[in-house]
């Protein structure tokens, strides 16, 4: 089941390294590895991360640790002590800090990450962390290009900034208008982790509410792990195909993960844990992420044990009850 996704990189004339945007390589991978059959991909978080996240992978998570993100899968990556991940660090407050503290991440394409505390400067100083500069929407455009089978995509932004100089982007003459235009390299991550509200066992998944780039991420990534609040029958998927955000074709693993976005919120299911949010930010600021990880990751076996031992039923019920908005979400 493990697959060498073969991270290949290029270096541009400014000396910036970036993941090579090779549509034909993705196609060849997809031909061989993406499962066309409707077979169950249901597995534990442990098995999914063990099978599909390899040291050295380029990792993208959709949303983040505090907002309908794959928080339980991020913790499992840390628990399994994956190494040398290159992280698509867009729209993220604490996940990159956790991954760097844990020694999992060594590179980051930056959109935005929460930068409190000493963890980043320490890692950078010790040569354990390299940054490349993009923007949030630049990163989702790169994923869009990947999801469309392209190698590049125009961006009306990024041009003229210092971020541009430290990115894989380049300026070309528009073949039709002749004007200078910025193009970004498509991003085909090795592995993506995405938290959804509903999925069937094959990986047909539904996302409700606003989002970052779940569909693009699922399509562009070579290996895709979904965690889902709730399993639904495929009959239910077929009864309303307009709700399907991600097709089974893109998906390698489905992990049933109620409260998988905890401590974050999950629209229509539960609110975020504000106390925990404060705790993790404080841990960043006070250089106590080691303790944080010990308590919330290493000392528990999996997400369900964490919820049981560290959060408790009363709190979980409270978080469910605090999600009062039902309109537009699954009943």
């Amino acid at each position: 089941m493990t697959t060498a996704a073969n991270r290949r990189t290029s270096v541009n004339e400014r000396g910036v390294e970036y993941l090579t945007p090779d549509p034909d390589a993705f196609r060849a991978y997809a031909r061989e590895h993406k499962q066309r059959r409707l077979i169950s991909k249901l597995m534990t978080e442990r098995d999914a991360i063990a099978a599909f996240v390899e040291d050295g992978d380029y990792l993208v998570y959709d949303c983040n640790y505090l907002q309908r993100g794959p928080a339980s899968l991020i913790r499992e990556i840390i628990r399994q002590r994956k190494k040398d991940l290159w992280v698509g660090a867009k729209f993220t407050y604490v996940a990159l800090a956790l991954l760097v503290q844990a020694g999992c991440a060594s590179r980051a394409d930056v959109g935005y990450f929460g930068s409190r505390g000493p963890v980043f400067s320490r890692a950078a100083k010790e040569g354990r962390l390299q940054f490349y500069e993009y923007s949030n929407a630049g990163m989702t455009l790169r994923l869009r290009a990947g999801a469309q089978g392209a190698s590049f995509i125009q961006n009306r932004s990024l041009g003229g900034t210092d971020g541009f100089r430290h990115s894989g982007a380049c300026v070309i003459d528009d073949p039709f208008t002749g004007s200078p235009t910025v193009v970004l390299p498509a991003l085909y991550p090795d592995v993506a982790i995405i938290h959804v509200q509903e999925a069937d066992v094959y990986g047909n998944a539904r996302v409700f509410g606003t989002g970052i780039a779940h569909a693009e991420t699922a399509l562009a990534a070579k290996k895709v792990i979904l965690s889902t609040e709730r399993l639904v029958e495929t009959e239910e998927i077929r009864a309303n195909p307009g709700l399907t955000s991600i097709p089974w074709l893109a998906v390698d693993a489905v992990v049933l993960a109620p409260f998988g976005a905890y401590p974050g919120s999950c629209q229509g299911f539960y609110a975020s844990d504000a106390e925990h949010t404060a705790e993790v930010f404080a841990a960043m600021t006070k250089d106590q992420l080691g303790e944080y990880l010990e308590r919330w990751v290493y000392s528990v076996e999996d997400n369900s044990q964490m919820l049981e031992r560290r959060v408790g039923e009363t709190k979980l019920l409270e978080l469910r009850n605090r999600e009062v908005i039902r309109e537009g979400y699954p009943s």
């Binding site: 729209f91 455009l141 041009g159 900034t161 971020g163 541009f164 919120s265």
Partner: protein, 281 residues
């Protein structure tokens, strides 16, 4: 409108921006906090009942349920409540790329005389200095919204001649056409910078210009908090302090937890004039 007698300088800043909000226009607000509150205040108090905003996560013209939990200003049910459309980050940026978004409102770390914005690095990138989080959505907003309103603090280290790192584009090197030559959409750019103490626009030749100061401060005091010397308008106006009406809506409907006034100094009317208290007092 009745001038308020006690308020936080950051509350004043939000009110200043709220008064800039143009009715019937579209706004892309960065993150939550000040930018979003400014539009909501303008809607609710009636300055701009038909202004609409979008967020980075594709909440299109929401009517949010307040207050938000910490950080939950995007990708949450309350933030996206009663939107006209739920999209994604790419949807939000498409609307801006198409010229459908009139204004962007940003918060930032550092701004320079040409309106360039730094939210990446203070010092010499990449090794010598302090790392920050990066542009987030600000780069896209500053590039593609027609006009950009920047909210920041009036501090020397924030108003500099040249930012240490251009995370999001202002007028770049300030030459005519510099943005277009870099591939950015024509006719866009910085429009206002608002701090608790002052307001700036840009001259014809794309340089930051001081146009107004808060009632409790002076041009000289503001200039002390600029590393470079901005152009000064012929007439520097005085910004009306927040009104009771503004603050009532702001405090009871919007920032009900007082997060805005967690930091920043308080201003009070001592019977003769407005006085600035110690920071955090």
């Amino acid at each position: 409108m009745t001038a308020a007698t006690t308020f936080n300088e950051r509350e004043a800043e939000v009110c200043y921006v709220a008064r800039l909000i143009e009715d019937g226009r579209t706004y892309w607000v960065a993150g939550g906090g000040g930018p979003m509150y400014a539009v909501l205040l303008a809607q609710r108090i009636g300055y701009a009942p038909n202004a609409q905003y979008i967020t980075e996560d594709g909440a299109i013209a929401p009517e949010p349920m307040l207050p938000f939990d910490p950080i939950q200003t995007m990708v949450s049910s309350r933030a996206g409540y009663r939107a006209l459309q739920w999209g994604t980050m790419n949807v939000a940026q498409d609307y801006a790329a198409l010229g459908l978004i009139d204004y962007g409102i940003l918060n930032t770390l550092q701004v320079d005389t040409h309106g360039n914005i730094n939210s990446t690095f203070l010092g010499e990138y990449p090794d010598s200095g302090r790392r920050f989080g990066g542009p987030g959505g600000a780069d896209s907003i500053a590039a593609m919204a027609w006009r950009t309103i920047l909210m920041t603090d009036q501090q020397r280290r924030k108003f500099v001649s040249r930012v240490d790192f251009i995370s999001s584009p202002g007028f770049l090197d300030g030459t005519e056409g510099a943005r277009e030559a870099a591939g950015l959409p024509a006719g866009t750019g910085p429009w206002r910078v608002v701090t608790p103490a002052a307001m700036y626009d840009y001259t014809q030749d794309r340089r930051l210009r001081l146009i107004a100061v808060s009632v409790w401060t002076t041009v000289d005091d503001v200039l002390k908090e600029c590393e470079h010397h901005p152009v000064i308008a012929d007439q520097v106006a005085t910004l009306d302090p927040p009104s009771d009406e503004e603050l009532t809506i702001y405090r009871t409907e919007l920032d009900v937890r007082g997060q805005t006034s967690d930091r920043g100094s308080w201003i009070t009317w001592n019977g003769e004039k407005y006085e600035q208290m110690e920071d955090g007092a």
